[in-house]
């Protein structure tokens, strides 16, 4: 078990280093000149003023130092929690802008990820070997997984938001309400939360249901199941063992899917103009606010790493092999 965690932690540490390095490298080695783009965007007519801006930005980005120094400075600033200053909302530090958006993204992500996982596995387990249910779960499941997140979001907004008028179409709360710890605000935020939540929930649901169904069928076909039924064990018992074994890959699957689910949350937020990280990323791209974009990237990476670590902890609880230290080299 110690070895298991040592391995996992090594992977996480490496991932973080790679992510930070990628983040540092891209503006420096990609074709295109971010500084020139920013100067062009400011539409300064006098060449002297443009030149002044150019040197200001070069200095701000630290492009005037040798590369290795830039890299070290980048790490140094990062470890002090300094993500730079946002260009889009100028004097605000990137960290503060991101922290404001974070509760909305987390409030959307955590319930949709967990609920879709539980409900999906439940439906999948039920549908395995139950023909009637299986014939509906499978096609619907495949349809849901094949849908792009933003499209299902648009459809839901059109149907439940526009036509039926049940839920507001965009934003995280109504503009005439002051965000705060009041019942009015909570209700209002909740009504804005339903549609983005539903779209994330539905798309992920299909994948989990199908995965669980396939795993259960496989387990029910396996040797230990046939052996148990040859011994005359009740069907319920066999199904319970099958479920226990089938749920392990689903836990691994949850860790694997996290990065993808984050991506889904980002585009869904954009459809609903939900004030989370996704909308910030869109704004930062449209305004060429590279500090904000890079900060958001690191925030996402840190979030995914923490979530993965939590799933590893859960895995130790559900898989006895990791506890007894028998887990082999493969992670």
């Amino acid at each position: 078990m110690r070895r298991y965690f040592a391995r996992k932690l090594l992977v996480y540490a490496l991932t973080f280093v790679v992510a930070v390095t990628v983040n540092w490298m891209i503006p420096r080695f990609m074709p295109g000149d971010p500084v020139a783009a920013m100067v062009a965007r400011a539409r300064v007519s006098q060449p002297e003023a443009a030149e002044a801006m150019r040197s200001y930005y070069n200095n701000l980005f630290g492009f005037d130092e040798p590369l290795w120094q830039q890299y070290l400075h980048f790490w140094g600033a990062l470890l002090q929690g300094d993500f730079g200053i946002s260009i889009w909302v100028f004097p605000t530090p990137v960290g503060d802008v991101l922290l404001d958006a974070l509760p909305y993204t987390l409030g959307l992500m955590i319930p949709s990820v967990l609920l879709s996982w539980f409900v999906g596995n439940w439906i999948g387990a039920l549908s395995a070997r139950r023909k009637v249910l299986d014939n509906t779960v499978l096609p619907v499941g495949y349809l849901l997984t094949a849908m792009p997140y933003m499209w299902i979001a648009v459809i839901l907004a059109w149907g439940l938001g526009g036509k039926a008028g049940w839920f507001p179409l965009s934003g995280g709360y109504s503009l005439d309400i002051q965000p705060g710890w009041t019942a009015d605000f909570a209700l209002d935020a909740l009504s804005h939360w339903v549609l983005p939540f539903l779209s994330l929930f539905l798309v992920a649901l299909g994948g989990w249901a199908i995965g669980m169904r396939n795993m259960i069928i496989y387990e029910l076909e396996s040797d230990y199941s046939s052996y148990l039924s040859a011994l005359g064990a009740p069907q319920r018992l066999i199904r319970r063992y099958a479920f226990r074994n089938a749920v392990l890959p689903q836990v691994t699957g949850l860790a694997l899917q996290l990065g993808v689910l984050v991506a889904g949350a980002l585009v869904t937020e954009i459809v609903f103009a939900y004030p989370g990280l996704g909308s910030l990323i869109l704004a930062s791209i449209q305004n060429q606010d590279f500090f904000l974009l890079q900060g958001a990237f690191l925030f996402i990476v840190i979030g995914v790493l923490i979530a993965n670590f939590l799933i590893d902890l859960v895995y130790v609880v559900v898989d006895p092999r990791t506890r007894t230290g028998m887990a082999g080299g493969t992670s």
């Binding site: 992977v11 991932t15 790679v18 459809i155 299909g206 396939n214 990065g259 993808v260 980002l266």
Partner: protein, 308 residues
């Protein structure tokens, strides 16, 4: 591993892998075909993909003009006899955009899926067959890339690139979406490398790549093919997300870009359903058909899964 080879980790990594060697009948090819033409899932999924591909390939040349973004007439009109899918706020023909969009969607899927499959095979075979330190290093690399959210990396890469094309988009998607497939191939190779026929080949002095491609790969060819299908579908979904965020190809049109412009110009609020329904339905149809064909293939290759 990314938007969304959703069923990918499950179905692919699941031991539902097509039948291992040994059980091969006398004429594997004909048995395969026998079950393939009798599998409704495979037939339906495959036909749908072929029909959509045909529309994408044949549609554009049959149109009057080559530019799908051109102004053709009435603005924001609902579908009718002249404009099958209606027109946008700017008087563009939605049908013309749709058929051109199908083309780039298939292109990005093929490029992204193929590149990812090649990397996954190189890494997976090498790690699985050679083992040892090489396996440790490659597996570590795979895990690192697996944990980093692909879309976030693609976001910043794409944001810094000036001119973007469908092919470059496919390239970057391919470079980032291989890890889950590499892990699955590694696991399969692991179980094959100790078989007698591999030992025999090794004794006869064959090199690593010769053994991998002559002995191991053919024994999991059906598995590799199914993996490519999932990577193909995944690449299409990632590309549509990127397009939607405004990081799609800077020229031409794609289904994702259509969704983006519908969103940007408030098609939803204006009730112009014909603008945002077709592109999303197109993506869903292609990816869904691929997944269903994949299940069909799985049943064809894996006797255990065949309906009795």
């Amino acid at each position: 591993m990314s938007t969304r080879p959703d069923p990918a980790p499950e179905t692919a990594a699941a031991p539902a892998a097509p039948s291992a060697p040994g059980a091969a009948p006398a004429k594997p090819g004909s048995e395969w075909l026998h079950y393939a033409v009798r599998n409704p899932k495979l037939i339906i999924g495959f036909s749908l993909v072929v029909v959509l591909l045909a529309i994408g390939l044949l549609g554009p040349p049959l149109l009057d003009n080559g530019n799908p973004n051109e102004y053709v007439g009435p603005q924001a009109s609902a579908p009718d006899g002249t404009y099958w899918m209606g027109t946008t706020t700017f008087g563009q023909d939605v049908y013309a955009q749709f058929v051109h969009g199908l083309r780039s969607t298939f292109l990005v899927g093929v490029v992204g899926g193929a590149i990812a499959a090649v990397i996954a095979m190189l890494v997976g075979f090498l790690a699985g067959y050679r083992g040892g330190v090489l396996d440790e290093v490659l597996s570590m690399l795979t895990n690192v890339v697996l944990v980093i959210p692909t879309l976030a990396v693609l976001l910043i890469i794409n944001a810094y690139m000036g001119v973007r094309s469908v092919a470059v988009q496919g390239l970057f998607i391919g470079l980032t979406s291989w890890p889950w497939a590499a892990r699955a191939i590694r696991a399969q190779t692991f179980s094959l490398r100790t078989r007698e026929f591999v030992d025999l080949a090794r004794l006869s002095g064959s090199g690593t790549w010769r053994i991998v491609f002559r002995e191991i790969a053919p024994n999991m060819s059906s598995y590799l093919f199914m993996m490519f299908i999932l990577l193909f579908g995944g690449a299409i979904l990632i590309a549509s997300s990127l397009d939607f965020i405004g990081l799609g190809p800077t020229e031409g049109v794609s289904l994702g870009l259509m969704l983006q412009s519908a969103q940007q110009w408030s098609a939803l609020q204006l009730g112009m359903w014909w603008w945002f329904i077709p592109p999303g339905a197109g993506i869903t149809a292609i990816v869904g058909a691929l997944y269903i064909a994949n299940v069909g293939l799985d049943e064809v290759f894996n006797p255990k899964l065949r309906e009795s």
